[in-house]
């Protein structure tokens, strides 16, 4: 699998520390995840067998993309992909479409379904990645779990993938993206259990570099 560097597109603060919860902007009430319950920025984390690179969860720098039609252009001639994996969450349940762009100019719209972050189950069969305390602008809150999900999006066309068009949907937040190539070209990730599980979710820290990070080309459509 190949992780994607989405750092040029991060534009929203979804996690905050207990000392500065007021900077959170995950939803209209400025709720946020508890950064203390999330892995450190830049670390590799496995969620349900999918590796992700963590964004900077610190409450200062943006840590997610609020979807507004950003186009994530992949470098080079493209690569065959079976699945897009998203570390994401929704401001309420989100059911939208991602545009999948191929080297020959064809484009497919594939469903992206992500559950609510606010005290909700996985409505679309996602893997729970992290569950943290809920941060409010002026306090931290027990009893209202905040969830990040690992969701997958199919790529059905057997052509090299060159780009991903995110939907125009302010309710969808993307924290990390990983591409899964067809089985024949899949490279197993080197998982280590040496790290500490970052949350009550299904995530596992990895100690080594499991896969190369693929930079995406900055630019929005």
């Amino acid at each position: 699998m190949f992780t994607i560097d989405i750092s040029p597109y991060l534009d929203n603060v979804g996690a905050t520390t207990a000392g500065r919860t007021a900077t959170g902007r995950l939803n209209v009430w400025n709720n946020s995840f508890a950064a203390e319950n999330l892995p450190p920025g830049g670390s590799n984390v496995m969620v349900g067998g999918v590796p992700y690179v963590m964004p900077p969860f610190g409450g200062i720098d943006p840590d997610n993309i609020r979807c507004a039609g950003q186009y994530l252009e992949l470098p080079g001639p493209g690569r065959a992909v079976d699945w897009l994996h998203l570390l994401a969450t929704g401001e309420r349940r989100v059911e939208d479409e991602i545009a999948v762009h191929f080297a020959d100019g064809s484009v497919d719209f594939e469903p992206v379904r992500v559950s609510d972050f606010w005290a909700a189950p996985a409505a679309f069969g996602e893997v729970p990645a992290f569950e943290t305390l809920m941060h409010y602008p002026a306090h931290t809150q027990f009893g209202v779990p905040a969830s990040v999900w690992s969701q997958r999006v199919p790529v059905t066309r057997r052509l090299p993938l060159i780009g991903i068009g995110l939907p125009v949907n302010a309710a969808l937040h993307v924290f990390a993206v990983t591409l899964q190539p067809p089985d024949g070209t899949r490279r197993p990730a080197a998982v280590s259990t040496a790290g500490t599980a970052p949350s009550t979710g299904a995530a596992t820290s990895t100690a080594g570099e499991a896969q190369p990070a693929v930079p995406s080309t900055a630019g929005a459509r």
């Binding site: 939803n27 209209v28 009430w29 929704g90 401001e91 309420r92 349940r93 989100v94 059911e95 939208d96 379904r113 559950s115 609510d116 606010w118 005290a119 909700a120 189950p121 409505a123 809920m134 409010y136 602008p137 002026a138 306090h139 809150q141 027990f142 009893g143 209202v144 125009v168 949907n169 302010a170 309710a171």
Partner: protein, 354 residues
């Protein structure tokens, strides 16, 4: 909404409590309104999903939206429950106290086996995340009053899901709050609470939870959803939804921030009902081995989820309405398309279920 003076209770300084705490009914797409009604329905021994999910409609009443989490556009004015559950013997009425002992009035109701649903301002409730932070109109169930110890038993199915006693002083502050305008919550503040409470009354002739009963509901829902546009002061069906989307986008283009604020509030009533109906069809489709019913349920749920884009876009964009016009149009059109798709799926389900 209309209110009626409650019958005076007999003042008595003694505790009155229900025999048990109310049940908890919760789904993430619903509001305190469906949660409160669902809890009462469950305590009466019925399935809340069957009652709250039977009706699926679109209804917008221009000029009627109030900035309360529990706002609902009523087909039967003053009867929120009858409007939400028209296929079941369920009716509700709002009351305001008529004596100087409002807690005694609630206590008398509890003593008579009723569960008053009180409107409150979250700002004054210690168990709500908004406590001493944000003003917002909300509903809770009241199931006990102890004047001697100055306690009121409150149940709130919405996360963080509280059930237990709080100080009567806190409850009275929440119940009597002016719920002033709060810049932190433009959607559920600025609506006086006025010590209102609602009683949900359920009849004995509760319909069966079977294919024939649901089939009748589906036929009625479909007829209303696909009816031609008409103008009787309410915008209904898919035609009404199309008109609503046009109204929202035109308002945004004209810079009408109030219209956008109302989208989030109003949309919750529609998203919640849509989601419960979809879940009902899906679960009964599995129970009754009816694939078309399951698919119709999922199509209705997809319509429910399309409310998210419209509501959240309006909520984030109400301070700069004109900039959101194109996005609101896109989400609104998708919402209407999903209603149409779901209505078609209902047709197939009706055929298979017949």
């Amino acid at each position: 909404m209309t209110t009626t003076a409650a019958p005076a209770g007999t003042p008595a300084v003694r505790p009155r409590q229900a025999r048990r705490a109310p049940s908890t009914f919760y789904r993430d797409p619903i509001s305190c309104l469906q949660a409160s009604f669902g809890s009462v329905v469950a305590d009466a021994g019925h399935d809340p999903l069957a009652a709250l999910g039977a009706r699926w409609e679109f209804r917008y009443i221009p000029g009627d939206v109030r900035s309360e989490e529990f706002y609902f556009p009523e087909r039967e004015p003053g009867d929120t429950a009858g409007s939400m559950m028209p296929y079941h013997p369920a009716h509700s009425t709002w009351f305001t106290p008529e004596t100087a002992e409002p807690l005694e009035e609630l206590a008398a109701l509890i003593e008579n086996g009723l569960a008053p649903i009180a409107a409150v301002d979250n700002y004054h409730l210690p168990f709500r995340p908004a406590y001493h932070d944000v003003h917002a109109a909300h509903l809770v169930l009241i199931y006990g009053v102890d004047p001697g110890r100055g306690l009121v038993w409150v149940a709130d199915p919405m996360p963080p899901a509280f059930s237990g006693p709080i100080r009567a002083e806190d409850f009275l502050n929440a119940w009597g709050s002016a719920n002033p305008a709060d810049h932190q919550d433009a959607f559920f503040s600025d609506a006086r609470i006025d010590r209102r409470h609602m009683l949900l009354r359920l009849g004995a002739d509760w319909p069966a939870d079977d294919p024939a009963t649901l089939l009748a509901a589906l036929r009625a829902n479909h007829a209303d959803l696909t009816a031609d546009a008409h103008d009787d002061g309410q915008w209904t069906g898919v035609a009404g939804l199309r008109r609503f989307v046009e109204h929202v986008t035109r308002s945004a283009h004209a810079g009408d921030d109030d219209a956008l604020k109302q989208v989030y509030t109003f949309g919750w009533s529609q998203q919640a009902g849509c989601s419960l109906h979809g879940e009902l069809l899906r679960t009964r489709g599995r129970q009754w081995r009816c694939p078309a019913l399951r698919e119709a349920g999922r199509a209705v749920e997809a319509a429910a989820h399309a409310w998210t884009g419209l509501r959240v876009t309006a909520a984030h964009g109400w301070t700069r309405p004109a900039e959101t016009t194109a996005d609101l149009r896109r989400h609104g059109d998708r919402l209407a398309q999903r209603y149409e798709t779901a209505a078609s799926a209902l047709t197939r389900a009706v055929t298979e279920l017949t």
